[in-house]
């Protein structure tokens, strides 16, 4: 059992400049940490898994944003990052020639979009030409620390699959730390609580098991499942595999959801948007 050490900026992590990975910098042939994080040292190289920090967009990321301004040729979108994003009219399939931009998306509307391009001056362009992308009209948006997003997704999407299968809710995780949840209101609440637990206890052992336990407990408490039913519907243990760092950005796989109208009409009125805390 190895424990991952916490490193602070300036700590020497390697003497081989070829091994330098993300979160490090090279000076004088030595590799130093540049952010506060967990040291991940493998044969392939060293990198730092950050513990804190803002979301920095990168091309191809799925993000959840809130429209801040409507202009003649597109929308300015807040993506919970130091950089505001722009969604051009032509990149929104919901746009028809005879409709005005603010009839399609107005200030305050939440959208799921993809980062299409980032220029060297960090001007971010979004696109909605993807089956995942859509305006958010129902459901709930939860904000977490963007550095915890890989944990919520889990290794090869294990955590997100667990939440989906146990609770039967739609979940789309934005790389920027905003997570969209939709489905039965009580189940969405359980999912929201579970996500906060994942955020809090991101770096502990056996997190998936504990989340499974938590969801079962909450389901019984809210009368969504009888205690004995829970025993029967227990998931195969492979779902509860040990938690490890999600290396890959798994949004692609983890976010395939059927586009269905909510079975519970009450959800539409209940939809609320929680502004990003940070």
């Amino acid at each position: 059992m190895i424990s991952r050490k916490i490193v602070l900026p300036g700590d020497l992590v390697s003497t081989n400049p070829k091994a330098a990975g993300s979160g490090t910098y090279v000076e004088g042939g030595k590799v130093y940490a540049r952010v506060l994080g967990l040291l991940d040292k493998t044969d392939l190289g060293v990198r730092i898994i950050p513990l804190k920090g803002r979301y920095i967009p990168s091309i191809g990321d799925t993000v959840i944003g809130i429209v801040k301004e409507v202009t003649a040729n597109g929308w300015i979108v807040d993506i919970n990052s130091p950089y505001i994003a722009f969604l051009p009219l032509v990149e929104n399939p919901g746009m028809r020639p005879n409709r005005r931009p603010n009839d399609v998306l107005d200030i305050g509307d939440a959208i799921i979009a993809k980062v299409m391009n980032i220029d060297p001056k960090m001007k971010v362009t979004l696109t909605m030409k993807d089956k995942l992308c859509r305006p958010i009209r129902v459901g709930r948006i939860v904000a977490i620390n963007p550095t915890r997003v890989p944990r919520v997704i889990g290794k090869k999407g294990s955590m997100i699959k667990l939440l989906k299968s146990e609770l039967d809710v739609q979940i789309i995780v934005g790389q920027n730390g905003l997570i969209w949840l939709n489905g039965d209101r009580r189940k969405v609440s359980i999912a929201e609580e579970a996500i906060y637990i994942i955020e809090q206890e991101a770096h502990t052992e056996g997190l998936t098991d504990r989340i499974t336990e938590f969801i079962k407990k909450r389901k019984v408490e809210l009368g969504l499942a009888k205690p004995e039913e829970v025993e029967e519907s227990e998931k195969s243990p492979k779902e509860a595999e040990e938690e490890k760092v999600a290396e890959e950005r798994e949004v692609e796989e983890s976010t395939e959801v059927e586009v269905t109208t909510p079975d519970d009409g009450s959800d539409v009125t209940d939809s609320k948007t929680e502004e990003a805390e940070r």
Binding site: M1, P9, R34, V35
Partner: protein, 244 residues
């Protein structure tokens, strides 16, 4: 006026030795809404630092196309000193803000965040001598807590000359009645002092004394650096992860 003895029987007025720091207490992540924060007590100094960013620059014209801008605001609370201080920036705090910002700028990797701002606010709740050094130490911890990429950490400490002797980390009386006050800030990387990022001097010392003062400050800075590290570790120790 009667001569004030600042050193009695080889000890300072508060009983410290010449190379001894005041008691220091550091706590990281005290503010919920800030990206990074720190509360620090250094003797009777009580300061709180908050870091926001990288975030959008307002007003827009300050923005730099190739790097982040760093803004540092040192501010003293009206109740931080014995006589009520008029709130708001004055000549002294503007100067301290400028030199402190310049002490931190070479450490922060500004080039990673073009067109953005990193805002550092440090509020002095209670002032003793050396509040700028206390503020820099707090700001440095808050920057790490905010997850901002840096080349190392900044640690700051002052040296004073009182009654002809160099003393580390002067307190109010030594600052007011001493012959010189020299605040230092160092960039510390991997437990080694790499460079000096701030050096000011109020009063007169000889070149040789300045050299000695620097050595004394380095010793003090290493102790503070360890406390800064401990404060961050204490907050994040539960994050230490066990794999396999």
């Amino acid at each position: 006026m009667e001569e004030i003895k600042l050193i009695v029987d080889g000890k300072r007025l508060d009983g410290r030795g010449f190379e001894e720091l005041r008691p220091i207490k550091i706590e990281a992540g005290v503010l919920k809404r800030a990206d990074g924060s720190c509360y620090l007590e250094m003797g009777k100094n009580k300061v709180v630092a908050a870091v926001y960013g990288p975030r959008e620059v307002h007003p827009k014209h300050l923005e730099e196309p190739d790097r982040a801008i760093v803004r540092y605001r040192y501010s003293m609370a009206p109740f931080s000193v014995e006589e009520r201080k008029r709130p708001g920036p004055d000549r002294r705090s503007i100067e301290i803000s400028k030199v402190s910002r310049e002490a931190l700028e070479p450490v922060i990797m500004k080039e990673l965040f073009p067109r953005s701002a990193i805002d550092i606010f440090v509020e002095v709740l209670q002032a003793d001598a050396g509040s700028r050094t206390a503020c820099l130490n707090a700001a440095s911890v808050a920057l790490v807590d905010a997850g901002i990429p840096m080349r190392g950490m900044v640690t700051s400490v002052a040296v004073a000359k009182v009654d002809g002797v160099l003393v580390l980390d002067p307190m109010k009386e030594e600052d007011n009645y001493g012959e010189a006050d020299i605040p230092f800030a160092f960039l510390i990387r991997n437990g080694k002092i790499e460079s000096i990022t701030l050096l000011q001097m109020d009063g007169k010392v000889t070149a040789e004394e300045l050299r000695q003062a620097l050595e004394l400050a380095k010793k003090g800075a290493m102790q503070i650096y360890q406390l800064q590290r401990d404060a961050i570790m204490r907050k994040y120790i539960k994050e230490e992860e066990v794999v396999e």
